[in-house]
Symmetry: C2
Subunit: 223 residues, 2 copies
């Protein structure tokens, strides 16, 4: 019975991966670069997205897909207030986005003139790691107040990602955060991973992330 159950799970994952590949093809056809932002609740996903929009526009137009577990449009409203298209996916209590939801979100988003789609995944350090959604890059945002031991406790989320943003560095003076211990944990899971240490509040370090993102969008569009 156990092995039969495992087979079913693998089929579901296969189906998700197949649909994720279709989503990426669709993004490519629209000449849109897509990133998937994952993080614990409160790490600063929305703040990073809003600041990124402010820094990267009008050079690039950004569309945002907001994953939420509840029917509140707090985050999507903030994006549209900045003049960018946004849609909200209410997962109905589910703890992650999957490729089906992503496909529906993308269908609802007006991609006219859009260069970059940012997906704000559900705030969760566990389940989003298991579901590809078809974006070109996966980004995790960690934050100083979460503590330096998170790579050791929630290892899966840091594996296979392309960028790690370490946010809220402005709080370093007030928190016992051992940077070496944190980075050692990350290096063991994802050797050579690029880490952008920044503060959304003070903007210190933020431009390095923006330069990386701009470069990626340009490379994708000139491919």
């Amino acid at each position: 019975m156990t092995s039969q159950k495992v087979q079913v799970v693998e089929k579901i994952m296969d189906a998700n991966d197949q649909l994720a590949a279709q989503v990426q093809t669709r993004l490519d056809a629209s000449n849109v670069f897509g990133i998937n932002i994952m993080a614990s609740p409160g790490a600063g996903k929305t703040s990073v997205i809003l600041k990124t929009i402010q820094k990267i526009s009008p050079e690039f137009k950004i569309g945002v897909i907001e994953g939420d577990t509840a029917p509140v449009t707090i985050d999507a409203d903030k994006v549209t207030a900045l003049g960018m298209p946004a849609v909200q996916i209410n997962t109905g209590g589910q703890c992650h986005l999957d490729a089906v939801m992503m496909e529906r979100g993308l269908s609802a988003l007006d991609l006219t003139g859009v260069d970059l789609v940012i997906v704000e995944n559900v705030g969760n350090l566990i389940c989003p790691a298991s579901f590809k959604i078809g974006t070109h890059a996966n980004v995790v945002i960690a934050s100083i107040p979460e503590g330096d031991d998170k790579p050791y406790k929630y290892p899966n989320i840091y594996r296979g990602i392309d960028i790690l943003i370490l946010n809220k560095t402005d709080l370093l003076p007030y928190i016992d955060f051992k940077m070496d211990y944190f980075k050692k944990g990350i290096e063991a899971l994802n050797p050579g991973l690029t880490i952008f240490e920044l503060s959304c509040k003070t903007e210190e370090g933020f431009d390095d992330w923006i330069e990386w993102l701009k470069s990626k969008v340009k490379t994708h569009q000139s491919r």
Copy 2:
């Protein structure tokens, strides 16, 4: 097809609830009060548990069940270093504890002389809300750096809990956290919920939580 699927899920939940009731009966038979601590990663679950042990012993003996998604015993080691029994449940990547895991954890824990069992659930603001594990009280730890909008974005976790600890109040001077907005959100989900505002770091407000907990253990043991 859809309704058939829902029926299966409901059966699983029923089985979990039944096993949770058995767990509580077992705790009662050992005259042990049990609490389930849920929170986002980095809200301070382990810090609150360690400080609680220091404050409440030797008057009460505490056993701890640590839920982790990875086979690291960082937290359980810290508990045993304080002379209290601890077991670790490695969920193998699963994002919550359920009554089956709790039953196994309890079986592995030496309850000799134990008055209180504290369960540290997996760091996740979503899924743990859906699975009873048989404890007498459910506690959520929120923290100032997570932001004041979490009750609006992750409502399910705040419903039906008995206590909310709002940790890291020492960081209030450095973070834009609207206390009224946060509490308004909580009140809408769980009217009259007791909130302990405290700082594990400075210990400000911590004794109120300890007094509540001592009172609950005593009442349970004299029932």
